[in-house]
Symmetry: D2
Subunit: 130 residues, 4 copies
Amino acid sequence: MFSRIFNPGFADTDALGHINNTVFPYWFENARIEIFKLFTPDLDPKKWSLILAKIEVDFKAQCYYGTEVEVKTFIEKVGNSSFVVLQEVIQNEILVAVGRSTMVHFDHDSQKSEHLPPVIKEKLLNHLKK
Amino acid sequence: MFSRIFNPGFADTDALGHINNTVFPYWFENARIEIFKLFTPDLDPKKWSLILAKIEVDFKAQCYYGTEVEVKTFIEKVGNSSFVVLQEVIQNEILVAVGRSTMVHFDHDSQKSEHLPPVIKEKLLNHLKK
Amino acid sequence: MFSRIFNPGFADTDALGHINNTVFPYWFENARIEIFKLFTPDLDPKKWSLILAKIEVDFKAQCYYGTEVEVKTFIEKVGNSSFVVLQEVIQNEILVAVGRSTMVHFDHDSQKSEHLPPVIKEKLLNHLKK
Amino acid sequence: MFSRIFNPGFADTDALGHINNTVFPYWFENARIEIFKLFTPDLDPKKWSLILAKIEVDFKAQCYYGTEVEVKTFIEKVGNSSFVVLQEVIQNEILVAVGRSTMVHFDHDSQKSEHLPPVIKEKLLNHLKK
C-alpha cells in the first residue's frame, strides 16, 4: 500500500460547499506515481509504457475543505497485460471515496498492449489489498 | 440528447502530449448542466436535490489539443430515485471516451434519497439513448 | 482581437458560489491559442518557441455559473523579444476580469530569448487594443 | 511565514513536459489558507470577509513533475483595508515562481471594503517578508 496526503484547496470546493467530484480523479492519478515508478523509475514520459483504460469513482461521503485527506493506493487485480489500482480517500477517519483505475502495459511503438514484465508483476502483487 | 462543445486547453494536455484523463470528468459534469436544470431550473445551489454516487470513464482513443470536442449527453437508465447519465466525447468523428454517472435524487434536509418526481422522470426518459 | 466562448462548469464554482479565481488563468491560456498558432501553426510542442514570463489577473466583478463568458484577446504591447497579451472576460455584458500575460520568444536549444520574427511582429501588431 | 508542501501531479504537466502555469494560482490559493483562517478561523464560507482583487505570478524557472515543491507565504504590504500576500514556490532549492495576491477586507452585506481589524492587521504584520 502506498499513501499520499493532500490538502484540499478552496478552489476544490464547489457551490455546494464540499470538495467537487472532479478533484478525486486528480488525487488518484497524483497518488499513482508509485505505480508509474515501477514501470518508469525516472518518470521520463518518453519511456512511458502505461495507458489508462478506465477510471471509476464511488462517492461514499462528503469531503470537506480545511482538513487533509489521505489517499491509500492498493492493487486490486493483476492480469496478463493489465491491472486494476484500487484507491481510497480517507478524511477524519471516514472513507469518502473509492477509486478504481484499469491500467494497460502498452508499447507505444507497436501501439499494442504487452504482457506485464514478471518482475513488475511481482511488485504489483506485493501491494494487493488483503 | 444534449450536446456541448469544448475546446481543450493547453493546460489540459500532459507530458504525454494528449488530453489528460482528469479533464473528462470536468467536461462530463459541465455538460450535465441540462440535467441539473431539470431538477433546479435556476441552478440555485440552495435548492440542489441531486448527489453524485458514482462516475466512470472508459477511454477509447487519444484526445488531442487544437481541435474541439463534442460531449453528447444521454440518459441510460432511470430507477426509482436514481438514474444513469451516459456521455460520449467525440473528436474528429472519433469516439474518444464514454462516461457514466449515477445521480441520486436527494433531500438534503432529511439526508435521504427520494423518489424521482414523475414529471422529471418523464423528461429524463425523453433523453434515453436508443 | 480574438474571441472565445466558455461555459463555466459547476466544478469551476467554489464554496462562495462564484467562479473561483484559479479558473481565469485557464481560460486565458486556452484563449491564447490563436497567439500560439502565429508562432507554431501546427501547435506541435516540439517546435514551441514561446515561454510565459508573467501572468496577472485583475478581478472586476463576480463571475457566475450558468451563463457563458466571452474571452477577448488583444495585444497590449510588443517589444523586441517579448509581448504582452491583454485579455478580457465578459459575462452578461459586464467586464468581470482583465488578464495580462507576458510572453517571450525563446529558443529552447540555446535557452535564450530571441528577437520576434518581423512577420509575426506585424501580425501581433494587427491585434493591438485601440 | 507559512509553508505548505505540494506534490505536482502528472495532470499538472503539459505537452511541454513541465508543470503548467495554471497550476501556480491553485497552489497559491491553497497555501493562503492560513491567511483565510486569520479572518475566518472556522473557514465557514458564510462568514467570509475577503475578496481577491488581483493575482500575479512571475515565472522564474521550470517546475518539474516527480519532486515536491514548497510554497512559502509572506505578507508584503498591509494597507487600510487591503494587503498583499507574497508567495514563493521552491523546488530543489530553486525559486521557480513568485506570486502576489491583493486581498481586500470586504463586507458582503454592504458590498463595501472595510478597514482591517487592528488585531488581524497586527497578525498580518508578523508575517512581513524581511
